[in-house]
């Protein structure tokens, strides 16, 4: 895509986010739901599949373009991005990267148009940071597999049409070996999705448990080869790291913009609070960190596209940007004073919403492990 084309897309997404989504943030937060008309408009715009290949109705963006759109999407409630985050991200990319031609043709056009939602079901009660401990089984049986297990915290599970499920096809295996990825339509007998989890923040983005009770899937449900599952999961998550880092940059931009606006217009003792140097310090520190985060994401995305670094950059960016957002959101609340603690005020929501990013798609601790391992044992 040439630069002008991409600029047109970026500005269309920016306009959509600011005109259509920002005014409805409080409604989304309060009702814990993305309104149906907004979902429809987002699908019409093409947001459910922008990271999918163009031949399937997506835009086929490079990582450098992907992060720029993610920064735009980060500006509003992350629940909005989450609605189509699994289609474009972890679940969709597993199908793009490793699915058969038939699987791609069956699912990608529907994912890109927003007709279908895909979810990524990896995490289990005792397999989160270390998914190699997962115990879900897919027992090979004449012409297919029988799947049994319980997944938790699965984003978009309540609205999913299809799951990318990770389970052991080799029942004798342990650790990373013997895990496979399977495409499991949500309507199959034996698939049950629990009620959506009440969460601290990101209201409107739904997660739930997924119960798999002797679910029979055909042999062609397998994504990639038997035993490829762990590698597929890690590759899908690696791309997601930079994306999440970029979303955090967008959210930090918003938090800072709200803080600056508040500091410019609110008075104490007859002066706007922005006149106080301690308030100025809060803004300046946030800006400096935000600037560093944005630069880091853009640079890491370039290196990702060039193929020169797909580990250190993404993990460093995810670690720094998610933690940076936490600090920027905290300062934004501080600048707002009591107002920053009140429901309905954007920074109060941002403060709660921000917390998740340090936990999912690899906790901060796990990013540190990835970074340190890569430094100590370069390949």
């Amino acid at each position: 895509m040439d630069a002008e084309d991409f600029a047109a897309i970026e500005s269309a997404v920016r306009e959509f986010v600011r005109k259509e989504v920002v005014p409805r943030e409080a409604e989304i937060d309060e009702r814990d739901e993305i309104p149906a008309d907004l979902r429809e408009k987002a699908a019409g715009l093409g947001l459910f599949g922008w990271a999918l290949p163009a031949e399937y109705g997506g835009l086929g963006l490079t990582m450098a373009e992907d992060v720029r759109l993610a920064i735009q999407l980060g500006y509003t409630t992350p629940a909005f991005r989450s609605l189509f985050g699994t289609n474009n991200g972890i679940a969709g990319q597993a199908i793009v990267g490793y699915g058969s031609q038939a699987q791609r043709e069956r699912w990608l056009p529907a994912l890109a148009s927003g007709e279908a939602v895909a979810s990524f079901a990896l995490t289990e009660a005792e397999a989160g940071s270390d998914p190699s401990g997962l115990t879900s089984k897919a027992v090979p049986e004449s012409g297919g597999y029988v799947l049994t297990g319980t997944k938790r915290f699965i984003t978009n599970a309540p609205i999913a049409d299809v799951f990318v499920v990770f389970a052991r096809t080799d029942p004798a295996s342990t650790g990373r070996e013997g895990i496979s990825a399977l495409l499991v339509p949500a309507g199959l007998p034996g698939v049950t999705v629990g009620p959506h989890d009440p969460k601290m923040g990101q209201a409107g983005a739904w997660t739930a448990e997924v119960f798999l009770d002797e679910v029979r899937v055909p042999a062609d449900a397998l994504i990639g080869a038997e035993g490829d599952g762990f590698r597929i999961a890690m590759a899908s998550l690696a791309r997601g790291r930079l994306h999440i880092a970029a979303v955090c940059v967008g959210m930090a931009e918003r938090a800072l913009a709200e803080a600056v606006e508040h500091a410019r217009t609110t008075r104490q003792g007859g002066r706007v609070i922005g006149d106080f140097q301690l308030v100025q310090a809060l803004l300046a520190e946030s800006h400096a960190e935000l600037y560093a985060g944005r630069s880091m994401v853009l640079r890491a995305a370039e290196e990702y596209d060039a193929g020169t670094d797909r580990r250190l950059g993404p993990s460093s960016a995810k670690l720094f940007c998610t933690e940076m957002l936490g600090r920027v959101a905290d300062r934004a609340v501080q600048v707002h004073g009591g107002m920053g603690y009140m429901r309905g005020v954007a920074v109060e929501r941002i403060y709660r919403d921000a917390r998740l990013f340090r936990i999912y798609e690899g906790t901060s601790e796990i990013q540190k492990l990835v970074i340190a391992r890569t430094l100590l044992h370069p390949r």
């Binding site: 895509m1 047109a8 019409g44």
Partner: protein, 254 residues
């Protein structure tokens, strides 16, 4: 079905419309441009008709080269072809615009299949003369229904509905025909990102026409006075009663 939709480039003004120094025009230096809500519905309806019944949607705008922006927006919504009509004047009046469109339609259809349906917005979002569609239809000898709020294919013609006072009027119109539609006819789509990319690259055809004189001159535009509510104290206690009665009397409630 071959459908032609005519759209106008209009300033996207906020609550207060800035005027030029001489008060004859809108000061557009700091404004973006758009197509009006009625026309957006016209494009949407055309795209839906063609999706359901086959054919092509052509979008046409009369005006300066910058109208390409609005034509491309309609292409991004799903229209197939874009046409710019260069009438050589900056702000033709409705008669001149209609003359330009009529000529352009004749040029476009010379040798090609004529359009089955011409769609217009009921009125433009800026001038609001309610004339262009009717003048073009008259010029081309087509039946036209204006104020249309619902439209469907019925047999080999169209059934159109519009609100009329407390009731509705339903028209059956044979094709070819024209319609001037109103906002609310449908919910226009958000142009998709892939659609926008296609539209950016689309070739637009430019049709030159002979400028025709119009009969309308804008004498002056005026901003309505600010309509702010103000509090007037009419008096205190019982002493205020006569003044209150006067006000109620003035309002016609007593």
């Amino acid at each position: 079905m071959e459908v032609l939709v005519c759209v106008k480039r209009v300033p996207a003004a906020g609550a207060r419309v800035p005027l030029t120094g001489d008060g004859r025009d809108i000061d557009t230096r700091h404004l973006g441009f758009t197509i009006g809500p009625h026309e957006e519905c016209a494009v949407e309806e055309a795209v839906r008709l063609v999706a359901a019944h086959g054919g092509r949607v052509t979008v046409l705008a009369v005006g300066p080269a910058e109208c390409a922006e609005q034509v491309r927006y309609a292409l991004a919504m799903g229209a197939d072809r874009g046409v710019l009509v260069d009438a050589g004047r900056s702000d033709p009046d409705p008669e001149a615009t209609a003359g330009a469109i009529t000529q352009a339609v004749r040029t476009l259809t010379g040798g090609e299949e004529p359009f089955d349906l011409l769609l217009f917005g009921d009125c433009s979002a800026d001038a609001g003369h309610h004339q262009v569609g009717i003048r073009v239809a008259t010029g081309l000898g087509l039946p036209i229904v204006s104020g249309v709020k619902a439209l469907e294919v019925a047999g080999d013609g169209l059934r159109m509905r519009r609100e009329a006072g407390d009731g509705v009027e339903v028209y059956r119109v044979p094709l070819p025909a024209a319609a001037a539609v109103r906002e609310g006819l449908n919910l226009p789509r958000y142009p998709s990102l892939p659609g926008r990319l296609r539209a950016r690259k689309a070739e637009l055809r430019t049709v030159a026409v002979e400028p025709e004189p119009g009969g309308l001159r804008t004498v002056r535009l005026r901003q309505p006075a600010d309509d702010r509510a103000a509090v007037v104290v009419l008096g205190h206690g019982a002493a205020a009663a006569p003044a209150v009665v006067d006000v109620l009397d003035e309002l016609g409630v007593v």
